[in-house]
Every structure is written in structure tokens, then in C-alpha cells.
Symmetry: C2
Subunit: 344 residues, 2 copies
DNA sequence: TCCCCGCCTGAAATCGTTTACATGTTTAGC
DNA sequence: GCTAAACATGTAAACGATTTCAGGCGGGGA
């Protein structure tokens, strides 16, 4: 039973009004008389009319879609953020497109072209967009229809929604300090990443505040991945003077680390405490359950979506200072942290 | 520098041809003379023309998008499948929309409306769509523009791409048997799920083949989630006569199970072996590293995408029997399985 | 009674493509 | 050398919505 699509004209005929009136009934119902409005809605119901987005978009000179740039779609970390974004736009007539910025074939210039020609707005979860790209975006007038969520690009005027990474790192260090740890290592994210920077800064600040020494080789470079956690563990195992605790820049790093340490006979948390960052679903069920910094990823996504939506529809809710919307984080204490082995 | 958008007419003027010719240069370049074609492409390059999808879609009576129905966007299991799908459509002029079928506000009828009015094709990763919904989809002519990936709906004529779940379950049981296990429990997925059914079937078949007894209370109902793994562990801990191995319907279940068992002092794999299903990224780095059945999720997504694309463009590659495209699975042996404790 | 002013509504232009049909120009066949 | 077919291009009509502009109607003030 494939009916041919109902057009606005069919509705108009059924309601004995003009197409203009039907259109108005949908967009500005209060401009119609009670009577006409009812008639139109009845006709819409009867005919089963659905607006044709292509026609609507063409006439309104818009794309009817927003684009989410994800650094790596297969990384589960992003799924909750996407869910948050998606939830907001589901209620609107914008479609949500998702593109993997690091995928094969996603070369840079094509990205910009692809993006701006086809969508009304952009949320980037990728803070690693190269300056040329950012410049190109700016040139093409992405200024008030693009923003960052989770990650962001340094020195861009575009607004961003972020977790309070600095505070998160501080909480982690403070927690370890309170347990009695004084020898704390840190596995960072990738060097050029803004989150890496923020988390390291928070860590160093808190360390300084507490009068803890900074030992250079206890800052181990990683890249948020499981593999880099494994590599960090190997480094630690080789150390003559091992730290008693490690603060990892992501939960995944923590997992890679713990897994490798455990295999080598180092017990967590008895021999070594570990704190992660993110609180992904699995952390609660890791062995041992992971102490970590919780990010409200869904909220973060939803906020970003709402913000973009406001901008697209012209509402311009002024952002707090620096166009940054900060989302709180919290420390979640579980079983991967304990007081250091006695005597250390 | 916000230029007003370049229209096909601007290109036509620049190339001193008609708009029809420009259009043809893009869609059927071989119908033009060498000379004209070159001129048009040069003009396109010069003007920086991008086709307006809205206009194109309107004229061609299509939506220019495909929809992916995901049961739960925040479940990391799906991210790789999405990446596979997304990768394929990135090369085309179809956009990929993603909708969470279980999200708040995604009520059933709206789903169908939303779907068919706005997209050209659908890939559902949700095998739990209710019969009414399926009927509605069928009514609205979704027959040759919808298919399933990963999960599927029983008794639907729609094609599907799936992992070989039955074989996967068999491999798991065989592996445990080879290690010497005779008392094997199983934690299922949700009762109404097709994957649950397939995996249970494979398990029972292999069991029968090996002459293993079926003990009813060793089949524990779960729902693929971490929490259900925890619950299953509690059930097992209460048993007078415990199994020596557990085959879990998903890796997440395995994690929930191991985590809870470990906390209760039961060692994996020394006291109890555990096998999962899926092989998500984390499994390799769990403690202990999880023995599991690997699903090639990205491949699965890509195959489904390619299939849908073929159907949308009219190519009708005949599917093997029953419109099912089966993707192989494989056993990955890691550290969560070992011979049963001696004497059992 | 007449005029003006709101308030609703309708006619028609418009958004940027694609494509059926028309037109003009070669080429091939005899 | 003539006709028909093949080929290359142009003209103009859609696709289905939104929105400007103008007109009809009724009511209130003078």
C-alpha cells in the first residue's frame, strides 16, 4: 500500500483553504483564526500529511542538518556524548550527521567543503583540527554556527562546552595525597591535546600546592588508549624507584596499565594505586573497580547541542566568560586506590 | 568573507553553456563533448561551486539520507558497527542519521513517521522492533529499502547481515570442553532477543553433541549488561553445586560476572573459567584478559551499508539463501579460561 | 453613512536542481 | 548528394514548500 506522498496542496484542498494557510498553520498557528486552524489540522490528520524537508530546506535556504565531528567513531568514550547531542536534536527538525575526522578518506579540505555546504551547524568533539582547517572554517563563516564539545581548539573564538578537567586532576591528586601517597606518577594523553594539557596542569598545580616533588620521569607520555596504558606499565616496571600511585589521563589508560601490572605480579591497589579519568560504564566493573574522575558526558553533549540550537535559531544566550561552558566533574572512589604499602 | 552561494547558473554563465549542460557534466559526464566537459569543470573549479543538496533532493524525489536505528546509542558495542556504516556512506552523497530507538521520546509510531518521511533507507541494529511497527514499515513500502545488521527481526522478509552466532556459541562450548570442563553454565541475553536465541541454540547443540548434561538452573537469564553479569554471579555464588565454567552471551556480562566473583573471593580462571561474546576492545585488557568470541563489527556494518546502497541505487545483488549475509566469528583464547580445578 | 484600519486569507514568486523535449549539427549509409 | 540516425546542447517545466504582497471583510470612529 504505497500511497503517493501527500503534498501541502492536498491538505489545502481538503481544508478548503490555500497552501499559504496550511503553511501558516504549521509555522505560526496563532496567526490564524481558531476556525481555520482547526480545519487545517483536521485536514492534516485526515490526509496523513508530512512536510517534505527537502522542499522546506530549499525554500528556507538551509540544510536542515548539523554535523558532529568525532575524532574516532569507534572509541566508546564518545557514544554517550553523541547520545546527549542526538537526544536534543531529535526533538527538532534538524538531522544529525556524524563524521569521523580521522577516518580514511576524510582528508582535510574535503572535510570543510563537505561540512559547510551540507549542514547548518557543527559540533566538533575533535580539538585537534589543524589551524589551516580552522582558518578555512572561519573564512567560510562558520563563526556562529560551530562550537566545540569535550575537546576544543586553543585560541579559537568559537565557544566550547567542556568538563572541568583542571579540577578533576586536582581531585585525583588530592585523593591520593589523602590516602598517604607522596610518590605519584601521571600518564598523559597525546602531547598536542588540550585535555592532556588541562589535566596535567591541574595535576601539577595541586602537587605544588601540597608540596609534592615533581619527578620528571614520573610523567609518562600516553595517548588515552589501552595500548598506551600497557606501555606506561612497562616503563614503570623497569623503574628502580617506583611511584606508589599513578593518575591516568583516561580510564582506558588505567585499564591498560592495571592489566599489564597485574600480569607482572604487581597488585592494584595493594602495591600501587591507580586513578583514571572519565568514568566510562565499565570502570565500575573492572577488577579492581576503578577509582576515577566522572565526566557527565551525556550532559555535556546535550548542553552543546542546546547551545548550537540556540545560535541557529537566532537566540543568543550570552555565554559566561570566554565563551566556555564548564561542566562539573566528580571524584568516584572505588577499589583501585588504597594507602601506599607501609614504609614508602 | 561570506560569499553568497554559487548556483549552477553561475557556473553555466562562466562556462558559456546552459544549466542543463552543467548538470549533465556532473551526473553523466560521458554524454558531453570533451571540450564542453573541460570548460564546465574549469568553471566549477573557478567558481567554487557546490551542489545544493536540498534542491537536488527535492527535484530527485529523495531524502538523501539513510537512518540507522540503534537500540541504545550509549552502548559502546555499537560504535564500531556505526563506524563501518559511516565509512561506506561517507563516500556517497547520502547522509547518515542516527536515532536511538529506546531513547526517551522515541515513541513507536513517531518512529515510523519520522523514518520514512525523511530518509531513503534504513539499517536497523535493533531486532526488537515490535510487530506492529514492522507491519507499518512494510505497509509504507520499506520493503526494499530497509535491512537489519547485527540483530534482526524473526520472520521478516527483510534481509539481514549477521554474525554467525550459532557457531560462535559452539566454539565457546567446545573450547571449554577441550579444557576439561563438563559443568558449564550460560548467562543469556534478554529473553526476546534473537541473538540470545541463536547463542543459546548453538550452546545447546554443541552440548548435546558432546553428551554434556543440561542442567536447567545453569541457564541464567541476563540482558547483555554489566549489571546482569553481576546478578548472575550472585546466583552462582549461592549455588550448592557450582559450574566450573560460564559462557556469557556478551563481554559486558562477563565483566560484570568476573568483577563480582572476584570480589567474593572466587578466582577466574583458577576456580571458574569465563568465556564472553563480542570481543570488544577492552576484553584484551580486562583482568584477566577475556577469552571470547570475536565479532567483526566494523565489517558487519560496512557490509550492511554496502548492501543498502546497492538496493537504493537499483543494483540488486542477490543475497545468499534466506536473504541472510553471514559474517564469520572466531574464538579468541586469553586468560579467563583454564582447566577446571582438579577433582571436579 | 462613510472611511480607515486591523485581521485573515489567497495568488504567485521563489529557492536550485534535474530532465523531457526541442533544436541544430554531424555522420553514416546508400 | 540526400535522408535518417546519432549526437550535443539549450529551453523550460517540474519538485513542494515558504513568504511577500495585495485584497476582502467587518467594525469603530467621525
Amino acid at each position: 500500500m504505497v500511497d503517493k506522498p501527500v503534498r501541502i496542496q492536498d491538505v489545502a484542498r481538503a481544508a478548503r483553504v490555500s497552501t499559504a494557510t496550511v503553511s501558516r498553520a504549521l509555522s505560526t498557528p496563532d496567526k490564524l483564526s481558531e476556525e481555520t486552524r482547526k480545519a487545517v489540522f483536521e485536514a492534516i490528520r485526515l490526509t496523513g500529511y508530512r512536510v517534505n524537508q527537502a522542499a522546506r530546506n530549499l525554500r528556507m535556504q538551509r540544510a536542515g542538518a548539523v554535523l558532529i565531528l568525532v575524532p574516532n567513531l569507534s572509541n566508546p568514550f564518545f557514544s554517550q556524548i553523541l547520545a546527549g547531542i542526538s537526544g536534543v536534536f531529535m526533538e527538532t527538525d534538524y538531522s544529525v550527521l556524524i563524521a569521523d575526522t580521522r577516518a580514511r578518506g576524510a582528508d582535510d579540505t574535503r572535510l570543510v567543503d563537505y561540512s559547510l555546504a551540507r549542514v547548518d551547524g557543527i559540533i566538533s568533539l575533535d580539538g585537534g583540527l589543524r589551524p589551516e582547517i580552522m582558518a578555512e572554517f572561519a573564512d567560510r563563516g562558520a563563526g556562529d554556527r560551530m562550537l566545540f564539545a569535550c575537546e576544543w581548539v586553543q585560541d579559537t573564538p568559537l565557544p566550547s562546552v567542556r568538563s572541568d578537567n583542571v579540577t578533576g586532576a586536582r581531585l585525583a591528586i588530592q585523593h591520593l595525597y589523602d590516602l598517604g601517597h607522596r610518590n605519584i606518577a601521571h600518564v598523559t594523553g597525546p602531547e598536542d591535546n588540550v585535555l592532556t594539557h588541562a589535566r596535567r596542569t591541574g595535576m601539577l598545580e595541586q602537587r605544588a600546592r601540597l608540596g609534592l616533588p615533581v619527578q620528571e620521569d614520573w610523567i609518562i607520555r600516553g595517548d588515552f588508549s589501552l595500548d598506551s596504558g600497557r606501555d606506561a606499565a612497562r616503563r614503570i616496571l623497569e623503574m628502580a624507584h617506583r611511584p606508589t600511585a599513578v593518575f591516568c589521563a583516561s580510564d582506558q589508560v588505567a585499564f591498560g596499565l592495571i592489566s599489564t601490572l597485574t600480569a607482572a605480579g604487581v597488585r592494584v591497589p595493594e602495591d600501587l594505586s591507580v586513578v583514571g579519568f572519565d568514568d566510562i560504564e565499565l570502570s565500575e566493573y573492572y577488577v579492581p573497580a576503578l577509582t576515577t574522575i566522572r565526566q557527565f558526558r551525556r550532559t555535556l553533549g546535550a548542553r552543546a547541542a542546546r547551545l548550537l540550537l540556540d545560535r541557529l535559531t537566532g537566540a543568543r544566550p550570552d555565554l559566561p566568560d570566554g565563551d566556555v561552558l564548564m561542566v562539573d566533574v566528580e571524584l568516584v572512589v572505588r577499589d583501585s586506590t588504597a594507602p601506599p604499602p607501609s614504609g614508602r
